[in-house]
Amino acid sequence: MCRLFSLTSRDPVSPMLAINALNVMKEGHDGSGVGLYLHDLGGPFGEMKEAPILSGIFTEAGLKRLSQTAAEIGLDPKYSMTFSPQTPPPPGTPKRGTYLARAYDIPEAWKGLPADELAQEYTRFRLMLRASGEELGDMQVFSFWPDTIMVKEVGDPLTVGQYLGLDNKDLVARRILAQGRQNTNYAINLYACHPFFLQGVCSMTNGENTAFIPIREYLSSRGVDGYSGYQSDSEVFAHILHFTLKRLGLGLEYYKHIITPLTDEELEGHPDRENLIRLKQACRKLIIDGPNCVIGCLPDGAMFMVQDRKKLRPGVVGGKPGIFAFSSEICGLNAAIPDRDPSKDFQPMHLDTAIVRPDCQEVTICNQMQVLPRLH
């Protein structure tokens, strides 16, 4: 089973903090892969918050083709952080080429576009690179979005982290999602590795989503750029979150109602009964059905954890004002924030959404039986 760990911190921290936490949970994963999402960056990237950052892995030819393609669109490279390992990769990790995070100045034509359209341009560019990379085998692109870097690789998280030099002092972030282990239910493919990201919305999951095929069919038919790929059954969690926030305009409090709606009995006395019944019916296609713990991060930096309807996966949230973490196991939490008050650790159950807002001051528990914010 995958192990998940995420951090949300007032001050930027190194991703190695999260990777170390994964490492102490090693008994629970087989060390077959690692995925990282870094947001609200510090260091040099932190000084260019608006510039979209391309992150991915490129061969020599891929890098050349990237430069050409970007130049054709008018994307002007601003700052790059690359790592081209010369040492042999650790056992289990293939030799791939250059790991790149590059910030760009956007072309004139994109400036002044409304946020939605700009987001679409970013997505289309990333999908175009991904498609051509898959065709020629020279690039793998994980994200193209301001203030965001994603890293994915096969191999033991700690060894890979050291191999890729993720302890670089310039690579620090306030929101970090880290996942240990490659996908096992479907083909081994870096695109199948958690976390999954689309337009500022990111999630990673632990478990199997047995409702994958109908949900994939439904999302794919929405006509939204980016609802594609689906190398893993967990990718739909990120897209359902995106759908909830961006297409339906609902808040995070509604996410759990979409993926694991209340039963009829629970709805009986609910103050929002009418709305929730109709929401349950309309979004029935998006109900998940597996043992899953979902950790996610929203564009505004809020971080959360939700559980499946039967709470079949472990998960705990804890920390102290200034830094909080969501972890599969308490030992991960102990490794990352040893000086917190453990009596305040919270393990979300089948109705809870645990949220830490970007100010990193407290854990808010949103229970499905509570009154919901009004629809606007």
């Binding site: 047995t210 994958f212 709305n275 309309a282 029935r284 296609k285 059905d289 309807r309």
Partner: protein, 545 residues
């Protein structure tokens, strides 16, 4: 056969009949129950002549003989009275002295089923032996080690489905914000008892089924639903609170609808839904048919017709001349009749028309669902040739419909109800689960209920199948009180409940290992496999051998 008996072209020997009566002279007590109960008078009491030889020992005296008689059972060979294999004779025999046996070779009777120039009519399902396609589908996607399987016995399951048009989430939320109208939706159990009319069914059978459904709803909280079929609904039920468990069917004969329309102002509750029937899977392109034998005083009164006349419904709704008229206009009229509070949907035979109708419904904001009935569906009366040789299998037709909706991004917005041969060989839960995973939102069964809940003895081996002439030996489809008194409505109700409860357990046993419990796995085609390459390709499921 004596030489002076008159051999006509239709004179058949016993050997020419598909069902043979085996009668044992040694155990027969000559009670006469078998001949009394035989619905078609295939057997009669017979008097047989016997010659006995008396040979005395020694030479002087010649042997003599005497002629005596004995009494027994004789099987009639007149095609009009052929044995139908129902085995009622065996059921009433105190000594098991009599039973029908099917002749394996092709019988001559087939050529003589059309006396008077009338082709054979019958009830039942089409005659096809062996496992059908649904029985061959396997559930292959089982979560065992990657994730804990669910426990069918202990975990919470939600096996409900939605009947009614579902708006896309964006539109629904918009309606929520603006207090706009949204189509009515019912949360129901995915096993619906399909339309079998009052008239086709005996009053006792009808009562038993509706009692069973009411019990399931009121006592067990299982929101089971039943369709009336075309034939109206007893006025007392129309005005009762139990009407909310009933889907009222309107078909091209409009039988019983005067009564329904008159009852609207006095209805305490809305019906569950209105089903507009355009076709039946057993006889696509044909309308309904209630033959004169069954149109007694009660049926005639309920349907608003004279007594003792055959009641064929036309194959089309005669006042409508196009799909827009027939579908859109009727749906809208029915919506209006109940103040836009009741889902209205059409039922059609699975056919090449299915996709055309579906596409039309997708664009109609009022259409609540589409019921598609496959070729294995049953009927109370139809021409033999229609039952046996017309129609489209349900699995591929349903799959086409579902994938068509997927391509349009409308899956589950317009629920598809699949019917036709579910549980044909007894595997009701497996068949239903297969269809749901192929894309059905719910399934409907008719004949399975008759067989399971009332002991209907009809089969696909052309056994019994006399539903049409009011002779149903079990009293299920007969309108003769002397016959239908055999059926105890309370027992039928009990069996309906048994069927639903067992079905529910089996569905959980299928869904739990697949890791599904909080929503019906509609379209979960990755769970399905079949050892037939062509079928796998056609249904877009996995080919497994």
């Amino acid at each position: 056969m004596q030489s002076n008996a008159g051999l006509t072209p239709s004179t058949l020997s016993l050997k020419d009949l598909p069902w043979q009566i085996d009668w044992d002279i040694h155990t027969c007590t000559l009670c006469g129950r078998c001949t009394a109960v035989c619905p078609v008078n295939a057997i009669e009491l017979g008097v047989f002549r016997k010659r006995e030889l008396h040979a005395k020992p020694g030479i002087p005296e010649k042997p003599t003989n005497t002629y005596t008689i004995y009494h027994g059972i004789r099987q009639r060979t007149d095609p009009a009275y052929r044995c139908i294999g129902c085995a009622m004779c065996n059921m009433v025999c105190p000594n098991n002295a009599i039973r029908p046996r099917q002749l394996s070779e092709s019988p001559m009777l087939w050529y003589h089923n059309n006396r008077g120039g009338q082709p054979r009519t019958r009830g039942g399902r089409r005659n096809e032996h062996g496992p059908n396609l649904l029985d061959q589908v396997k559930f292959i996607r089982i979560s065992m080690l990657t994730d804990p399987a669910l426990d069918a016995g202990r975990h919470e399951f939600e096996l409900k489905t939605l009947l009614g048009r579902i708006l896309p989430p964006e539109e629904e939320i918009n309606a929520l914000k603006t207090d706009g109208w949204t189509p009515p939706v019912r949360e129901i159990y995915p096993l619906i008892i399909g339309g079998m009319s009052f008239g086709a069914l005996s009053p006792n059978m009808w009562e038993g089924l509706y009692m069973g459904i009411s019990y399931l709803n009121e006592e067990l909280g299982i929101p089971a639903r039943i369709s009336t079929g075309e034939g109206g609904c007893p006025p007392r039920l129309l005005r009762s609170r139990f009407i909310k468990y009933v889907i009222l069917q309107i078909a091209s004969g409009y039988f019983g609808w005067d009564e329904i329309i008159r009852a609207i102002p006095e209805m305490q509750e809305d019906p569950c839904a209105i089903e507009i029937k355009y076709g039946q899977g057993a006889k696509p392109g044909d309308g309904g048919l209630l033959m004169w034998y069954k149109v007694n005083k009660l049926i005639a009164a309920l349907r608003g017709v004279p007594q003792g006349v055959s009641l064929p419904s036309p194959p089309t709704h005669q006042t409508k001349y196009s799909i827009e008229e027939a579908v859109a206009k009727m749906i809208q009229s029915m919506y209006m009749a109940w103040g836009f509070r009741v889902p209205v949907y059409p039922k059609i035979s699975a056919s090449s028309t299915s996709l055309a109708v579906l596409n039309n419904l997708v664009r109609n904001p009022y259409a609540a669902a589409l019921a598609v009935d496959g070729e294995d569906g049953g009927t109370g009366a139809a021409y033999n040739v229609s039952i046996n040789h017309m129609g489209h299998p349900i699995a591929s037709n349903l799959r086409d419909c579902y994938l068509n909706l997927v391509a349009q991004g409308r899956q589950n917005e317009l629920p598809i109800i699949a019917g036709g041969g579910i549980g044909k060989n007894g595997n009701i839960a497996a068949n239903a689960a297969s269809l749901i995973m192929l894309g059905a939102s719910a399934v409907q069964v008719g004949k399975y209920m008759m067989q399971a809940a009332a002991g209907c003895i009809g089969s696909e081996g052309d056994r019994c199948n006399v539903c049409n002439i009011g002779l149903c030996p079990k009293g299920i489809t007969s309108q003769d009180p002397r016959i239908y008194r055999r059926l105890d409505p309370e027992k039928v109700a009990e069996r309906v409940v048994d069927v639903y409860l067992a079905f529910d357990t089996e569905m959980r046993k299928i869904f739990a290992p697949l890791g599904r419990s909080t929503s019906l796995p509609i379209g979960m085609s990755d769970a399905l496999g079949i050892a037939d390459k062509d079928a796998a390709e056609r249904l877009q499921i996995k080919y497994v051998v």
